[in-house]
Amino acid sequence: ASGRMFLRLLSDVRWRAANPRWRRLTCSQRSTSSTAEPQQVPLPAQAQVVICGGGIVGTSVAYHLSKMGWKDIVLLEQGRLAAGTTRFCAGIVSTARQVSIELKMADYSNKLYQQLEQETGVKTGYVKTGSVSLAQTQDRLISLKRVASSLNVMGIPCEILTPKQVAQLHPLINIHDLVGAMYVPEDAVVSSASVSLALATAASRNGVQVHERTSVSHVTVQKGRVTGVETDRGRIGCQYFVNCAGQWAYELGHSGEEPVNIPLHACEHFYLLTHPLKEPLASNLPTIVDPDGRIYIRNWQGGILSGGFEKNPKPLFTEGRNQLEIQNLQEDWDHFEPLLSALLRRMPDLEALQIMQLVNCPESFTPDMRCVMGESPTVRGYFVLAGMNSAGISYGGGAGKYLAEWMVNGYPSENVWPLDLKRFGSLQSSRTFLRHRVMEVMPLMCDLKVPRWDFQTGRQLRTSPLYDRLDAQGARWMEKHGFERVKYFVPPGKDLLDLDQSKTFYKPDWFDIVGSEVKCCKEAVCVIDMSSFTKFEISSTGDQALESLQYLFSNDLDVPVGHVVHTGMLNEKGGYENDCSIARLSKRSFFMISPTDQQVHCWAWLKSRLPDDSNLTLEDVTWKYTALNLIGPRAVDLLSELSYAPMTAEHFPSLFCKEMSVGYANGIRVMSITHTGEPGFVLYIPIEYALHVYNEVMNMGQKYGIRNAGYYALRSLRIEKFFAFWGQDLDAFTTPMECGREFQVKLDKGMQFVGQEALLEQKQNGVYKRFTMFILEDHDTDMDLWPWWGEPIFRNGRYVGKTTSSAYSYTLERHVCLGFVHHFDEKTGEELVVTTDFINQGEYEIDIAGQRFQAKAKLYPFSSLFTQRRRKDEVELSGYQRE
């Protein structure tokens, strides 16, 4: 009985909505009795956009599209609006987020919902309650302080509280086990279903047609473009399709002839509703988030609503859909027991409070805890927004806005690569993988997020042929785009801490191990397996390959055969879509190396822009080659001995590529680049020769002191050399001009290329941000918190930007942070041109979890400290691996 009562409460809110167009169609159906089905308005035959899913996400997309001037939009909902996860979700709008883009989305959502009632006349239940995130441990407090630093520089009020201050904010809270907390006073609660209905109402007034009880069976595609959708009520032709089907998005993506992989999986999620307290709780009481107890608590109708993210989640619907609307799934009290215990520990006085209901509301989770947004790499016009990881309300508004911008303008107003659907490929789409991974992801919502954590599930999917060899030598692994990569090698006899104990914001236990690998790169030679990189070959019968690439890339690729060119693949605004190295193999063929996670994005970008010409071929050869990076001053000697060929700079200059034999194996592509600024070579080895070449290298390398090394050493090397990585430092909103790479742009190469105009303009007018290197001055590596990325940068005490990556430099014996410096006008906040003088004439500080460290800013690396004899024009100035 109480269950039904809850539903009634929600539907009361629903139907108080101000007379939207679709209301008269469905209002008579609200009683579950067998009233005759009213006549449904027929579907249009054609629309510009069809949105599938009437939850918070779908309605937000419709709302924003219609606001941006697109009118010919149809929103289809299989059941009733806001009847899925949206109806059941807890309605907490929280801006306390780790990832900057997520923080921006949540902030926008908050501001949108705040004025929504006024805009639409629909009651949204919006109450600015604020939220308090509790810390039971010092590590948790550090993590909160890091978030607080981010919020503050975004202009979102936020403070760190003592336990006593927490007690003043909430009458019921037990503070004896707390070490501190973070208070965000502008966070809010809403009735999520009402917000969704308000958005739908506004969209509907703007001309969006809403059809309930209409389910999409599949999307039709012709020549790689969306042509329409088939529904149980007939077909609608359309140019754009938006999949906002929530937990059903995966299945819907796979229902068409051309599958669209949307990696997400549902888990059961429980929360508790109570009757009001004797003295009902005030409706503006802050929401409490207790991540160490894995729970959240908000006030609800004078009582409380409390749920959480348990350690042992229950994934469901792995086999696919077996119900339409989410009816109330089974309550599972035994499963909820740990969360209930945590709740009563936090608020012991609630013991006497009467239970109303335990709600089981499935939420969808993604493989990396971030939502999935953007256009399908395989089907043009097929957009996706789903997988909200139980933060649908917090993100819904902002995410809908970004997706609408994406559709209308071609790209959102912010860098959304961390959320881009194209960060995934088909390899993350196995049901087994998703089921296992979300069981790890859901508890992570509450787990402490320390630097450099790796997922433990869904591993060992893509591996190099040397995997077992390296593993036997003590390799410790991390994963990128499904590929196992070595972090470092634990020497025999040495042991590191357990996974759990190794979590730290301070100096990690592998510090000395990586230090010795770096030293070996500097003094002898190291080998790093870098096979994960994305590798494409572009070739043509005539000059098509060269001409297309000259247009798509900013550097001049009309170089002599055998030369390697570092170049950006830019968008119209001059921003980096990709950063790669391209070797000219012959007059008519090119070999292109990009970051690992570019496999899907870069492929889609090239496919859609290369001319449709059967004489021009693009091939993904990633799997065909194993890449060994030989780094260090003795790499030259080692390789000449293995190949009986002279490898010195006179014979094999920097940025050169040649097929040669190594050991018995022939046809090894040797390139004189190392992605670190150190001397050396990368060998691209056809996989069947990989073991042979590796063995030869290791055997012959003995006398040169060779050892295995991992990506942590590589990262330290590249960061101290001021190399930017795409995906970490560089993104679609960063141009070569802004990161000191003008020399990789050939504005005068004699033909037009993408982004040229924007770059020309920047060259004339100057840049508004500048990639800068910071050396921490008063930072104690052993005692102080380590920088990670996302730390605010202060110049003369004023915020100017954030770091994008950091590493300890074993050469400088200092921490190095890379990041962007902006110039905000002191009065108006307007962005001004950043000049070299502006950079050089400031006093800088980096804020690590609220503590500021002095830093020296540099626009060029310390070349004098690194004693290699290289000519200036040979200096290799690019790296692009991401961590």
Binding site: E331, D334, Q357, Q460
Partner: protein, 451 residues
């Protein structure tokens, strides 16, 4: 006098062992989640044995229970040796060659089995060399025979059983210069053991059975109830086909004397077994071996005694019957147990007790608040109590222990009666065997997510 509940527990748990196949490391999403095993002795020393191992050179897991009679020597030897014979029978030709070459050149051997042993499950150090040599002879023959065909699991199981029994017999005939070993191989051959072995590889389950231990599959029906499916046939007088088989193998003149008082030749309960050369060798051979054997053997009345009506040996075989079963999602677990369990419990009850135990909140209905007025405090109390009931010292962490508790302690209502349990467990050694037999149980839990 009574045993206190903790004392009862310490007796019941003394031999319990659990193994969980590592989950979530990305490597091994096995169809087996893990297994629980336990033994409760009635004989002193216990004559039952158990083994569990993962095949390292082929896929699959081996689990078995062995019920010894006339001493534990044969059961002990079979528990140490049988899985090696099976694993070797399953190996592809190249791997056999590789292993042989490694032995030949003194290099380190590829590990064949990873054992999952309770500390009390011992291996005989003295005999290891002898056992190894016999095994090596076997794989050398397999190498020479190289049929080129892929190994059929069923055939491999049958070959392994027969070969091991043959080796036990031969070793006793040849003897050993070391007097300890010489006595050991004779004790092995003159005692006997039944074997019930399961091989699980993905969804393929084979059960090879020799004797009267039993394998039973626990199946969860659609309505959540539990039922049992037999995966072995008992080889004893209650099995008509078995009686028929024995009669077929001997002249009609012996028909009456073959099975008396439900025993083979009026003596032996199981109709198939390892060892027991008194039912296999000719009278001449038995006499020769006993006479040339050590004094202890000669002094033993049992070994000298020739079964009555002993005309056309062998009367006994170790050849197993193999049943194949393809695992289905509703197949949740497998119970392998010696007859000590099956004498006291019906298989249907076994299926229900284990099924309810494994599904976690066993015999606890899910709680629904419904229309009742419940406070958070009351609910919390209820839930912690339920949790405590599951995890307290009075409850079992091991399905096999749980089953033994029921087997020994069940009253007429099918619930565990502490008083009865206490009595049964405090029986003096010499009485225990009259009220109960040795019990050995392995419960293998399957991974429905994979199957």
């Amino acid at each position: 006098f009574y045993l206190t509940p903790p004392q009862v527990n310490s007796i019941l748990k003394a031999n319990e062992y659990s193994f969980k196949v590592p989950e979530f490391d990305g490597k091994n999403v096995s169809s087996v989640l893990g297994f629980d095993s336990n033994q409760l002795p009635a004989n002193a020393p216990i004559e039952d044995r158990r083994s569990a191992a993962t095949c390292l050179q082929t896929r699959g897991m081996l689990l078995g229970v062995f019920d010894g009679h006339a001493g534990c020597a044969c059961a002990q030897a079979v528990s140490e040796r049988l899985f090696y014979y099976i694993a070797v029978s399953l190996l592809p030709h190249e791997t056999l060659l590789e292993i042989e070459n490694a032995v030949e050149s003194g290099r380190a051997l590829l590990p064949i089995l990873q054992w999952h042993k309770h500390p009390n499950d011992y291996f005989s150090k003295e005999a290891s060399k002898l056992y190894f040599n016999s095994l090596r002879t076997y794989w050398q023959e397999l190498i020479d025979l190289n049929s080129g065909e892929t190994t059929d699991v069923k055939e491999a199981l049958i070959n392994a059983f027969k070969r091991l029994d043959n080796d036990i017999s031969l070793e006793a005939q040849v003897g050993d210069p070391n007097s300890f070993l010489n006595y050991l191989v004779l004790r092995v051959a003159f005692s006997g053991a039944t074997a019930c072995v399961a091989h699980v590889d993905g969804v393929d389950l084979h059960v090879a059975n020799t004797g009267d231990s039993r394998a039973m599959l626990g199946v969860q029906e659609e309505d959540g109830s539990w039922s049992a499916v037999n995966l072995s046939y008992d080889h004893n007088a209650q099995n008509e086909h078995e009686v028929e088989r024995v009669k077929m193998e001997h002249p009609k003149s012996e028909e009456k004397s073959l099975v008396k008082q439900d025993r083979l030749l009026g003596l032996l309960m199981p109709f198939r077994a390892f060892g027991d050369v008194k039912f296999k060798w000719s009278i001449e051979l038995q006499k020769r071996v006993v006479e040339s054997g050590p004094d202890q053997l000669n002094d033993n009345e049992y070994t000298k005694f020739i079964p009555p009506n002993y005309h056309t040996p062998p009367y006994l075989t170790a050849e197993p019957e193999v049943i194949y079963h393809k695992l289905r999602p509703q197949d949740k677990f497998l119970v392998l147990a010696t007859d000590g369990l099956w004498e006291t419990m019906h298989r249907q009850d076994v299926a229900r007790i284990v099924g309810e135990y494994l599904t976690g909140v066993h015999h606890q209905q899910p709680i629904a608040v419904g229309g009742y007025k419940v406070t958070l405090g009351q609910m919390h109390g209820l839930l912690t109590e339920r949790r405590a009931r599951i995890s307290s010292v009075f409850e079992d962490q091991n399905a096999a222990t749980h089953l033994i508790r029921h087997a020994v302690g069940n009253n007429e209502f099918g619930t565990v009666d502490h008083e009865r349990l206490s009595k049964m467990l405090s029986l003096p050694e010499e009485l225990a065997r009259m009220y109960r037999d040795d019990i050995t149980i392995i419960v293998v839990q399957f991974n429905s997510h994979v199957i």
